[in-house]
């Protein structure tokens, strides 16, 4: 019934290769976008925006970035936290060095800086693969955090080593710093997420994305058919780090407001984003969103349920939360190893035939 492509005629190649070829999907996407941009800002309250939606949007960008590297290009990376820190510190240095620079450019440039760093640490991927590459990126994680905690220049010689985001405005509306309202924070994160998702989707279905997937599936075969592994792998590292850098900059400047490298961007961040990608579904844009929602929104909702609604002790709730989320991860990996995105695909298949399955 739903998701039926019968009667949905395409008369051009462009129409046939669009992101949402099924009409129902496409309209759903437009409605969702309209809802996110027009309705959400009016109805969202401070707590929801600040504690649930904004971190979800930011982590979704990070998951998109890592998904390009792992899901599309097959290069395992454990350096996400470190790359997010690069984005955060780059944005901090630019915000303080050029106070006049618009925050949007600051965040995009922070992504560009991170892309450069990502390419640098992606160079070993030309020689090593799989677990060995994971170890190399793990080294990047520890090196970058070490660099940001030991080199005083990065935190402008502040005695505590904390960086804190000054107030910056877009069209006179503060989006960073303590005066930023929940709605303005929501809107800037949403705009970046939509732009990043659009970029990621269009890159992955174009020739670059095909090269990445060829490398992922079998790098020797890809090289034989003419894919340059140097360019393919390094572009994957660059694009992935660009997105991760943007999310790091947003996390620091918009959401946290103040951060220190070891605490905010430690190895646990790398694992968190990696879990998002794995649970959401490798090689899927939707998977990045689903994974981020599962691991960011899930625990907060669980906390609200256990502590605020049921009135359980906070420590018990915190421990239960770890256990429940951990158990759910295991259940997911057993029941649906390809992640929530694969689950969604199955549901879609079922919905196509519903209510008359054969």
């Amino acid at each position: 019934m739903l998701y039926r492509e019968a009667g949905d005629y395409k008369t051009s190649y462009v129409a046939d290769s669009q992101t949402f070829p099924i009409k129902f999907d496409r309209y759903g996407y437009y409605v969702l976008l309209g809802f996110a941009f027009l309705v959400m800002p009016l109805i969202i309250n401070d707590y929801w925006a600040n504690s649930i939606v904004v971190p979800f949007l930011i982590y979704a960008i990070a998951a998109l970035g890592l998904n390009i590297l792992i899901g599309y290009c097959g290069q395992l990376s454990l350096g996400t936290g470190g790359f997010m820190a690069v984005g955060a510190y780059a944005s901090y240095k630019m915000m303080t060095a050029f106070p006049e620079l618009n925050i949007i450019f600051v965040i995009v440039l922070a992504g560009v800086v991170t892309a450069g760093v990502g390419v640098l640490f992606g160079l070993p991927s030309l020689r090593i693969k799989g677990f060995y590459l994971a170890v190399a990126t793990l080294a990047a994680q520890f090196f970058l955090i070490w660099l940001f905690t030991r080199t005083a220049w990065f935190y402008n010689y502040s005695p505590t080593g904390m960086i804190s985001a000054p107030t910056r405005e877009i069209f006179g509306v503060p989006v960073t710093g303590p005066r930023a309202s929940a709605v303005s924070m929501y809107m800037i994160c949403l705009c970046f997420l939509v732009a990043c998702a659009w970029l990621a989707r269009n890159l992955t279905r174009g020739s670059i994305g095909r090269k990445w997937m060829a490398i992922r599936d079998m790098d020797i075969a890809a090289e034989i058919i003419g894919v340059n592994p140097l360019i393919a792998k390094l572009t994957a590292f660059a694009v992935s780090s660009f997105l991760v850098g943007i999310s790091g900059a947003l996390l620091f400047a918009v959401y946290l407001g103040a951060a220190e490298a070891g605490e905010a961007f430690g190895i646990d961040k790398s694992f968190l984003v990696l879990f998002m990608v794995i649970i959401g579904g490798l090689g899927s844009i939707f998977g990045a969103f689903a994974g981020a929602a599962f691991l960011i929104v899930g625990p907060v909702l669980l906390k609200l349920l256990l502590v605020n609604s049921l009135g359980w002790p906070t420590d018990l709730a915190a421990h239960l939360e770890i256990m429940i989320v951990g158990a759910l991860i295991i259940v997911f990996l057993i029941v649906e190893p390809h992640g929530i995105a694969a689950l969604w695909r199955t549901i879609k298949e079922k919905l196509r035939l519903w209510p008359f399955p054969y």
């Binding site: 401070d46 707590y47 005695p159 804190s164 070891g262 905010a264």
Partner: protein, 430 residues
């Protein structure tokens, strides 16, 4: 700021005018009972909660208005700290005590904007002593720079007034918290002629092999520690392993509780730490505590932390908060105070020895008073030493005063730099 004041006044009139609102005083607790720092977070949260429960049960609240407690788990994690703050900020929280320097740094600008007072007792941003810049942040009765200075003054006493040619190693938790004393110790080193070696330990601090190797190589005369959570027992264990003389190993007040020394056993005998308040059960208040809270089964947590160092600290923090609320009620003549009124109470708080005795805590903490120019109290602290055989901390000095002139001078520089960065015109409120 104007908007905040307006909003605060509006909120105040709403609370006073709205008879439908249940009149309670909301004291939130941003605690951490999980994670690598839970060993320190649990006793503090228990002490804080038990004292407020005692006030409710024994006195029926503050000025007749019952206290409402809420708890939010931060796990010492700044992201969860922000989430907790968001969940309570519209609920008229009278005072925030996050017990984390990292979370404090994040909340300082937000609380200033929202008009919610924050009390960081013995932690947080030291330069918040300048109340003209940090109107909403208080760090009485002592802060990190006081602590560093007290340790140096104590060592000066031990060495007949001169530390010339001595070598002091600072072993610190590599975070905003641990780096806080470095400027003070460096400055004092220039004055007193000792050499400072700073050695960072990455969080959480279970791995300290290389750091202690460095200490062995450097052979410092004294090791000063700024540690927290699991880092403390690990460091004391490592010191015992290399046979570092324990009496030359001094921790800050966050590195001096039972949880830190007990795991090391007899090896920890003689370890010293700062004490910003008394400890143990020899205070009259524990009779009431036993009667109204513990025997009544209304204690927080498991109730086995009563009387430990960090439990005492949580109790002390709650006591100062309750006294500030009383002061606020006196100033404004209103029983159901708002966060803005609470700030006035904190800014005019005066703790005397008579008051401490009256509260059942004689000589527990220093006598001090808070003023707009000084949100930091007296800064005095004592030195306590661990007796592993008896299993208790013994105070070995009286109150030692810090080098307050130097600290105020440094705090002034730092706070004015913050004011310039954030477009704040230094001024006292009201």
């Amino acid at each position: 700021m104007k908007m905040t004041k307006l909003a605060a006044t509006l909120a105040a009139t709403m609370v006073v005018a709205g008879p439908t609102l249940a009149e309670t005083l909301h004291f939130p607790s941003l605690s951490y009972r999980t994670g690598p720092f839970a060993a320190g977070g649990i006793p503090f949260a228990d002490g804080y909660s038990d004292y407020l429960t005692l006030i409710n049960e024994r006195d029926g609240g503050i000025g007749g208005v019952p206290i409402r407690q809420t708890e939010c788990e931060t796990a010492y994690n700044t992201e969860r700290g922000v989430e907790c703050y968001q969940s309570i900020r519209n609920d008229n929280p009278l005072v925030l005590q996050p017990l984390s320097t990292g979370i404090t740094y994040q909340l300082i600008p937000r609380t200033m904007e929202d008009g919610i007072p924050m009390h960081t007792m013995g932690y947080g941003r030291t330069s918040a002593v300048n109340g003209e810049v940090f109107n909403w942040t208080f760090n009485y009765p002592a802060n990190y720079w006081d602590g560093a200075s007290v340790i140096i003054n104590y060592l000066l006493d031990e060495n007949e007034g001169s530390l010339e040619g001595k070598k002091i190693a600072l072993l610190y938790h590599n975070s905003a918290y641990g780096r806080e004393p470095i400027p003070t110790l460096t400055r004092l080193g220039e004055t007193h002629g000792y050499e400072l070696v700073t050695i960072g330990v990455d969080s959480p601090g279970q791995e300290q092999g290389s750091q202690w190797l460095q200490i062995r190589r450097e052979r410092p005369d004294y090791v000063v520690m700024w540690g927290w959570g699991v880092m403390n027992p690990t460091a004391i264990q490592e010191a015992a392993n290399i046979r570092f003389p324990m009496e030359n190993f001094i921790g800050v007040w966050w590195s001096g509780s039972q949880q830190d020394v007990r795991p090391v056993g007899s090896g920890a005998h003689g370890y010293k730490a700062l004490a910003m308040h008394g400890t143990g059960m020899d205070y009259p208040i524990y009779a009431d505590m036993q009667q109204y809270v513990i025997d009544a089964g209304k204690y927080a947590g498991t109730g086995d932390e009563v009387g430990t160092v960090l439990y005492s600290r949580g109790m002390y923090a709650a006591m100062l908060a309750v006294e500030a609320a009383k002061t606020a009620q006196e100033i404004h003549g209103v029983a159901a105070i708002t966060p803005a009124m609470m700030r006035d109470g904190m800014a005019n708080l005066e703790i005397t020895e008579e008051l401490m005795a009256e509260l059942g805590l004689p000589n527990f903490g220093p006598a001090f008073s808070v003023a707009c120019e000084n949100h930091g109290g007296s800064g005095a602290a004592m030195i306590q030493q661990w007796d592993a055989e008896a299993g208790e901390w013994n105070l070995i000095t009286d109150w030692i005063s810090p080098d307050r002139d130097l600290i105020m001078e440094m705090a002034m520089d730092d706070s004015l730099a913050y004011a310039a960065e954030n477009d704040i015109t230094p001024a006292c409120m009201n």
